[in-house]
């Protein structure tokens, strides 16, 4: 969803419980503290349930039969109907959607990181006429409504023969991911010490070699953050493929799910739809839980001001 948007500022630091000098422990205040504690746990748990329950419910529903989904939506499945999953995977083309998405996102992610870091490096570390202009040209793209550009873009792509093709979609994903990537990486390259690059140049390395062998490895933490951000944005992308990629054979996951919802709703195959939804949901959630710290840092990164 957010290939081209800026997340707001702030670097995430885990709250460190700071112990300070003891405060006065009046009776009234500790009473207030206790009430507040119960209250805050109460509201926090309610929201946690509101967030987690629909997801668990979807997982549960994906193992039920169509009848029981409609008649008793809250009941547990009578047994685990794995056939829903296999039906969604093969008959409903989920496997193809996954494959298409992996190809598109893989290509665009590599392209975004490569082109983004090249542009950002030059903009961050070299003085030349027009530097500021190019920089603002890039970051200006973060706040404009994408849909406005999509109308002419559709016809530009059509004329270039890029409509409904995988490589066309990859190029568009890269182009719309560049503003944030350039913005983020420019700030990152500025923080890297210049002395290492100078030493490499003195040793006779060319600019290009210095970039690939010295600066890029140093920028790894930044690349990981912006990479996670772009990966999620591109994996979840819906608007760009909806407009620019209507060929059923090239559908990506998000389009496939909507298509699945339309056709399964029509056929009444709700269990297949939920199996598809959960199938699309679980890998991302699992990856998030494993790489929790990096994902949160990546999505909340972007120290501007």
């Amino acid at each position: 969803m957010k290939a081209t948007e800026t997340p707001p500022v702030v670097t995430v630091t885990e709250p460190a419980p700071v112990s300070k000098a003891p405060a006065q422990d009046g009776k009234k205040k500790s009473g207030e503290g206790k009430v507040l504690n119960v209250f805050s746990h109460g509201v926090l748990i309610i929201w946690a349930i509101l967030v987690v329950m629909p997801l668990l419910w979807a997982v549960m529903t994906s193992f039920k039969t169509d009848d029981s989904i409609l008649s008793t939506p809250w009941a547990l499945p009578d047994k685990l109907h794995f056939e829903n999953w296999s039906r969604a995977w093969s008959q409903a083309h989920m496997s193809e959607y996954f494959l298409n998405t992996i190809v598109v996102v893989g290509g665009s992610l590599i392209g975004t990181l490569l082109l983004g870091s090249m542009a950002a490096y030059v903009l961050a570390r070299f003085d030349f006429p027009g530097n500021r202009f190019v920089y603002y040209l890039f970051i200006g793209g973060m706040s404009f409504p994408i849909i406005l550009a999509l109308v002419p873009l559709f016809f530009v792509m059509n004329n270039m023969g890029l409509l409904n093709t995988t490589h066309g979609l990859i190029l568009v994903y890269i182009a719309y991911s560049l503003p944030f990537t350039v913005f983020f990486l420019t700030a990152f390259f500025r923080t890297l010490p210049g002395s290492v690059a100078e030493a490499a140049m003195l040793d006779g390395a060319s600019h290009t070699r210095t970039f690939f062998q010295v600066m890029l490895p140093m920028a790894k933490p930044g690349l990981i953050s912006v990479g996670i951000f772009n990966f999620l944005g591109q994996w979840n992308q819906y608007m760009l493929p909806t407009v620019l990629n209507s060929d059923p054979d090239h559908r990506v996951l998000s389009q496939g799910l909507v298509e699945l919802a339309n056709s399964q709703g029509y056929k009444g195959d709700w269990s297949g739809l939920f199996a598809g939804l959960v199938m699309a949901m679980l890998p991302v959630l699992a990856a998030y839980i494993v790489f929790q710290r990096q994902v949160v840092a990546g999505l909340t990164a972007g120290a501007v001001k």
Binding site: P7, P15, V122, F128, L171
Partner: protein, 307 residues
């Protein structure tokens, strides 16, 4: 050092810049030009029509409805989302049981809450919208069967089918999926506020509510402000488009009750074959976006607090 510098700069910039110019900048410029033409998008022939599209837009009821909904989203979404997120983040950081030697402390298990709250952020808005679409289903959805379950058989709203409720239903989905992100963001900001500030205030007899408005909020203002911009762009952009397009009947229905500007641009261009007029509406959306950003920047300007 200077040797080959410019060749290197050009070599590194040419590919990204060319890609960006062809697929982003050029279409933007074109769309502003097309907004003054009667281009259908289907045939290559079109002519300039001056301001006709703009006068048509001002008389277009659906445009006004979509604009109204978009403005409503821009005003309400940030308010509700950021408000809830600030509330939860404050509870996480200050709502803890008083420990022996700290005036304020976070609740236990705040790590768990933050992990759980963040779930929707990593999910595609499409998945979220489809899940909720089923939850809202009037006959067999989660909500109505839960209402039945607690004996409220008489209250069975149509949710997305009810013109008065549909937009609120969409809004709930967008709030649900974005609050967690801001809880994590604000919580990180609050954790970096020195605890002495709270201690001093509590010693002076301030209540915790007062400390929120007098200490937490002012020190977090920068983050809240950029969150406001972010939510506004989201409400005018891709997320609102996706939620409405996936969830509502029509999409945009019932009876245009949920139509938003980006959706109307999309439908005018690709369903009705009026690409020229669609770009006109798009320019309208661009203006709304810019006005919004300018207002937030202006209202939000305050003295920066250092701590």
């Amino acid at each position: 050092m200077q040797h080959g510098k410019y060749r290197f700069i050009v070599g590194f910039l040419v590919a990204p810049l060319a890609l960006y110019a062809v697929f982003v900048i050029w279409p933007f410029i074109q769309s502003i030009y097309y907004s003054f033409t009667d281009w259908t998008g289907l045939s290559p022939d079109f002519k300039m029509v001056g301001l006709d599209n703009y006068t048509r837009m001002f008389k277009d009821d659906i445009f006004w409805k979509s604009l109204q909904h978009s403005v409503l989203l821009v005003l309400l979404l940030p308010l509700v989302t950021l408000g809830l997120a600030l509330f939860f983040a404050f509870m996480l950081n200050v709502g803890g049981r008083r420990r022996k030697n700290a005036a304020v402390s976070g609740v236990r298990g705040s790590g768990f809450y933050k992990i759980a709250y963040f779930f929707p952020q990593v999910l595609s808005i499409v998945i979220v919208a489809l899940l909720f679409q089923f939850a809202y289903n009037p006959r067999s959805g989660m909500l109505n069967s839960a209402l039945k379950g607690v004996g409220l058989d008489s209250i069975q709203p149509d949710w997305l089918g009810d013109p008065n409720l549909a937009l609120i239903c969409v809004m709930v989905v967008l709030v649900w999926s974005t609050v967690g992100f801001f809880v994590v963001l604000f919580s990180a900001g609050m954790a970096s506020i020195p605890k002495d500030f709270y201690e001093a205030a509590l010693l002076d007899g301030a209540s915790r509510v007062t400390t929120f408005f007098k200490i937490t909020l002012p020190l977090l203002w920068d983050t809240v402000q950029s969150g406001w911009v972010y939510m506004g762009i989201l409400a005018l952009g891709v997320e609102a488009f996706t939620a409405v397009q996936v969830m509502t009947v029509g999409p945009g229905g019932p009876d245009y009750a949920t139509s938003v500007l980006p959706l109307y641009v999309y439908q005018t261009a690709f369903r009705d074959g009026q690409a020229g007029y669609a770009t006109t509406i798009g320019v309208g959306l661009l203006i709304v976006t810019m006005v919004f950003a300018a207002i937030v920047m202006r209202l939000g300007r305050r003295e920066r607090l250092e701590f």
